[in-house]
């Protein structure tokens, strides 16, 4: 979707403000939102693409107003209800509905070390999936406007670059986010000149590398 999350190239967002001695979490609730999301993730009720999609679906005014972990909280509540893991009524009351069966969490404390540092992504090696392109070829990012989740940023659409590297095989976010299958395909690092992306005012020595899936590209 052409959402406000797709903000590469926007102006007006102010200066970057690094913080000295930044803590990992600024407030306790932030850490709880983060680890609740990770712990619930162990139920595998949704995948990473769905997770990203539900951040993007936050209405633009709210998305920009919210802090990072406020977005995570909004997503968690939304997906818990959507997947039927909790009901709206339970969220409202903060307690399980009368007679609700108590589940057994798939992630226990002894499982944490294995899970906490593991991104849980399948191998990107799959000889059965053929690449459409190879390093050195000129490609154009398609001018498409998917209504759902997608990982081809607007600033790259219709722009021409060169395949820098074949990164191997990954799930296709556009279908995977909506449960329409992983549609595994090659992802390439594509090198674009800043001038192609932003016009003649850009530095001729600036380049942007974007990881793009086979389905986002055509020969140019």
């Amino acid at each position: 979707m052409n959402g406000v999350h797709d903000m590469g190239g926007m102006h007006g967002m102010g200066p970057v403000q690094p913080e000295i001695n930044e803590p990992v979490f600024h407030e306790r609730w932030e850490s709880r939102v983060y680890v609740l999301t990770r712990a619930i993730g162990a139920w595998r009720k949704w995948n990473i693409d769905t997770g990203r999609y539900y951040i993007e679906r936050i209405a633009p005014a709210e998305y920009l107003r919210m802090s990072y972990y406020e977005r995570w909280f909004a997503r968690l509540v939304e997906l818990l209800v959507k997947t039927g893991m909790v009901t709206q009524d339970e969220i409202r009351k903060g307690v399980p509905e009368p007679g609700a069966q108590k589940a057994s969490p798939p992630l226990r404390v002894d499982g944490v070390p294995a899970v906490a540092l593991n991104r849980n992504i399948e191998s990107n090696i799959d000889r059965s999936v053929r690449p459409k392109f190879k390093a050195g070829q000129r490609v154009r990012a398609l001018n498409i406007q998917p209504l759902g989740h997608t990982r081809v940023p607007r600033y790259a659409r219709g722009k021409t670059g060169r395949i820098h590297r074949d990164n191997g095989v990954y799930n296709f976010p556009d279908t995977n986010a909506e449960g329409r299958g992983p549609k595994r395909q090659h992802v390439y690092s594509v090198r674009f000149t800043a001038r192609e992306l932003w016009g003649a005012q850009a530095s001729p020595r600036d380049f942007v590398y974007i990881d793009l899936w086979d389905d986002y590209l055509e020969r140019a």
Partner: protein, 230 residues
């Protein structure tokens, strides 16, 4: 803290009090005088999920401990320091990062889908995720707020040299600048240049010089003398 995360609300150029500022202040005051609404909501959700048996409270605490104390930029620093002292290792790291990272005893899964990018006097790499907040957290810990901010995400691809200047790095015009937008599951680790004046330092001491920001590519690693001077 609020300030840095509200950078994007820094409204107009003039310091005139605008309705926006007023609204912000009002909002801020509310959160100071009453317990934070979001904090209560999160607490309520956590207790619900625990009661429903969907999460194990001990696992939650262990997760917090892991992210607060067990991952962080020092993992990345060790890899960079090794690359600095061992040219053969650096070659392996640049050509096959997952394997090279696994060599150092990190669980191999951590290194999967990782790409190492070498900064030199001729080429500078920096990393952004314009669409969300993708970051090599298995090696660097959770990303800083600025990395996840609208300001960085919007500007890193269209005004990378301006962003670097704000980090104190005035990149010479003849240096090639490569911005990596992490749109997929690849994660990028920048291997910064080894600074001058470090010939006599051992691997551990070198690792101590490597900053998180230098491994994102928004600053250089300062030489120990520079650090003293500051």
């Amino acid at each position: 803290m609020k300030t840095s995360r509200r950078g994007f609300i820094a409204a107009m150029s003039s310091p005139a009090p605008s309705p926006a500022d007023a609204a912000e202040q009002q909002h801020g005051h509310q959160h100071q005088t009453v317990p934070s609404d979001i904090s209560l909501r999160v607490k309520s959700l956590e207790s619900l999920l625990v009661e429903k048996g969907l999460v194990d409270p001990a696992a939650l605490d262990a997760l917090v401990d892991t992210y607060e104390n067990k991952v962080g930029p020092r993992n990345g620093s060790k890899i960079v320091a090794r690359a600095w002292v061992d040219p053969a290792y650096k070659r392996r790291l640049l050509s096959d990062a997952p394997r090279a990272i696994a060599e150092l005893g990190f669980p191999s899964v951590q290194g999967e889908h990782m790409v190492a990018l070498e900064n030199t006097g001729k080429v500078h790499n920096m990393v952004v995720c314009t669409l969300c907040s993708c970051y090599p957290w298995t090696l660097l810990g959770l990303p800083p707020v600025w990395y996840k901010s609208s300001a960085y995400r919007s500007r890193a691809v269209i005004d990378p040299r301006g962003v670097l200047k704000e980090f104190g790095l005035d990149l010479p015009a003849n240096v090639e600048l490569r911005v990596w937008d992490s749109t997929a599951e690849l994660r990028y680790l920048v291997v910064p240049e080894r600074p001058a004046g470090t010939k006599d330092m051992d691997e551990e001491a070198l690792a101590g010089l490597v900053t998180r920001n230098s491994m994102i590519g928004v600053e250089k690693v300062k030489s120990p003398t520079q650090r003293v001077v500051r």
